[in-house]
Symmetry: C2
């Protein structure tokens, strides 16, 4: 059962995808991410400014990137999002699960795990 | 806020790690996993019997494997576990996030994303 606070936390993270990650909009980061942001992803250097630089870089490198959210969960101050990211619409792309910790209405900490979407393995079921 | 049902779902999955995945015990699978188990992991073929075969295989291949759970969450019938799995204690191993769907007190569906733990990237923070 989601409390109102949990629903707010989930909505914040879905807003992060809608307004920051999908459009790769560095200028919208401060509305969603805390100044002391703790980054565990190995894609970007630590900190909120590095996240902005990363978004500016990938917006140039892969302007057609698509984040396709498959499912999202919230438990207290942690939000989990499972999605398919494709750097270009015809790429197989990556399966990703992100975990965000929310503090005082902003994303304060982030972990992720990424795996390339492959074909021809032992399991014909979709990764999603 | 976790309901009693959510706590039961979380405990079921933590039991799956303690009694099935950590000891790689195929004989304990039926206590935790539904007959109609839907597998999305690309490591194993679909189905509960294939999970048992996979556990028997990795128990021979990596008998000292360690699953180190870092954090776990529950939202309704979905449970999320973030952990560090090392095929041998001195391996860097893999970062993994699993999502399980629980139905009628058994694990009915499973997704995962795996990423090798590397060193030397742009982020000195731990993946965990």
């Amino acid at each position: 059962m989601r409390t109102e606070q949990e629903q707010n936390n989930l909505d914040l993270v879905l807003g992060l995808f809608a307004h920051v990650l999908n459009p790769m909009d560095a200028d919208a980061v401060d509305r969603f991410v805390a100044p002391g942001y703790i980054q565990h992803s190995q894609l970007a250097p630590p900190g909120r400014d590095a996240l902005k630089a990363f978004l500016r870089e990938i917006r140039v490198r892969s302007p057609l990137a698509v984040h396709d959210i498959k499912r999202a969960f919230v438990d207290g101050d942690h939000v989990v999002v499972h999605y398919h990211v494709r750097p270009a619409p015809d790429d197989r792309g990556w399966a990703v699960i992100d975990i965000f910790r929310v503090e005082d209405g902003l994303v304060a900490e982030h972990w992720d795990v990424l795996q390339p979407v492959a074909e021809g393995g032992p399991n014909p079921n979709s990764m999603f």
